[in-house]
Symmetry: C2
DNA sequence: GTCTATAAGAGGATAGAC
DNA sequence: GTCTATCCTCTTATAGAC
């Protein structure tokens, strides 16, 4: 609280007038994150490419840039709160969950947009959750490592999974090469490592 | 500290005699976790089955049981510390990383043991990291949700990826059914949901 | 609604006898 | 090595004038 008051150049009384407790301020922050997800994160990603599967990896690359900028510190604010406060603060837990759901729903829509490029038997919602796991897990390991390499490894494996999925959806022709082909996007992303 | 002193029924002076600071106590805990990984976690899992890929999913199911026992609270202690303390406590960061590395190295060995059941072009170390991502990401989402369902979804998608990998390693016969087959283990795990 | 000053309490750590 | 008592700082929150 003291840091916030100092950085915002606000006096104690003013802040407590609007947010009576520390928790209520955090609730406000989480509600704001929820509102800003589309305009700040998803819309810009969608502007980069129309390719729905490409968007998934543009999104992951966007987070990668953030990690680099922060030297693999800070991490995902929602993930941090989920692990630190979910157990003892029901309202925070609910809002963190809502943020996760908003994120995965946006990714899920892209995966739905991918249509028959993904096998029909694949649950788009679960696959979107796996994208989130890749991001959060990659961030967690990268923060522990102090390097972005674990994040890159996570994205590579996810890309590999998508390669299988796309090959499967195409009917897995018997003459397909064993080594799944790489899209331009994934190769570009790897070059930056 | 007060909680630890109370729960351990130890007096302040005694604890501070061995661990001069709060951080030094945490270091001791992390070193202990590292030592106990094999005897407490990996060895019991290896006793359940000789099947190297099966072991991966037995391990995940072991964490699932832990989540249920704790009603989706608590989570992974290493993951919690990685997100909360990695930035400002270099020694904690290093030991959290060492714990992750110990974990993934054990899984990596299983994946190496799987031999030609997995494609040769797959990096076993990266795949082991993906298993860790599945666990940590699944736990994070399950804590935010307050239910184990996200963890189960994460494991299902990982299982699906392994299905592709195993099919690929077999040579992806043209007459393979499109729906990848499920192993007994993964079906049993699903039944418990 | 905002200001300054401060209350109230938790938390980590220490002193010094035994 | 262990005991009791306590210091001291940091942190959240409030009081009351303006």
């Amino acid at each position: 609280m003291a840091t916030i008051l100092r950085e915002a150049d606000v006096n104690s009384g003013s802040l407590y007038h609007f947010f009576p407790t520390k928790e209520s301020l955090l609730i406000g922050v989480l509600e704001r994150y929820q509102r800003l997800l589309r305009p700040i994160v998803m819309d810009p990603v969608e502007k980069v490419t129309d390719d729905p599967i490409g968007r998934v990896f543009v999104l992951l690359d966007w987070y990668r840039s953030g990690m680099l900028r922060a030297q693999c510190k800070l991490g995902c604010p929602i993930g941090n709160l989920a692990l630190e406060l979910a157990d003892n603060h029901p309202d925070v837990r609910r809002l963190a969950d809502a943020n996760f759901i908003g994120w995965t729903e946006a990714v899920k829509q892209w995966l739905i947009d991918a249509g028959d490029r993904l096998p029909s038997h694949i649950n788009r919602g679960e696959l979107a959750q796996m994208v989130l796991n890749t991001m959060e897990g990659g961030i967690m390991q990268s923060r522990a490592r102090g390097e972005v390499a674990p994040f890159d490894a996570a994205v590579r494996q996810l890309r590999h999974y998508f390669d299988y999925l796309e090959r499967d959806a195409k009917g897995a022709p018997p003459d397909a090469t064993r080594q799944p082909k790489r899209s331009n996007r994934s190769r570009r992303s790897r070059r930056r490592t």
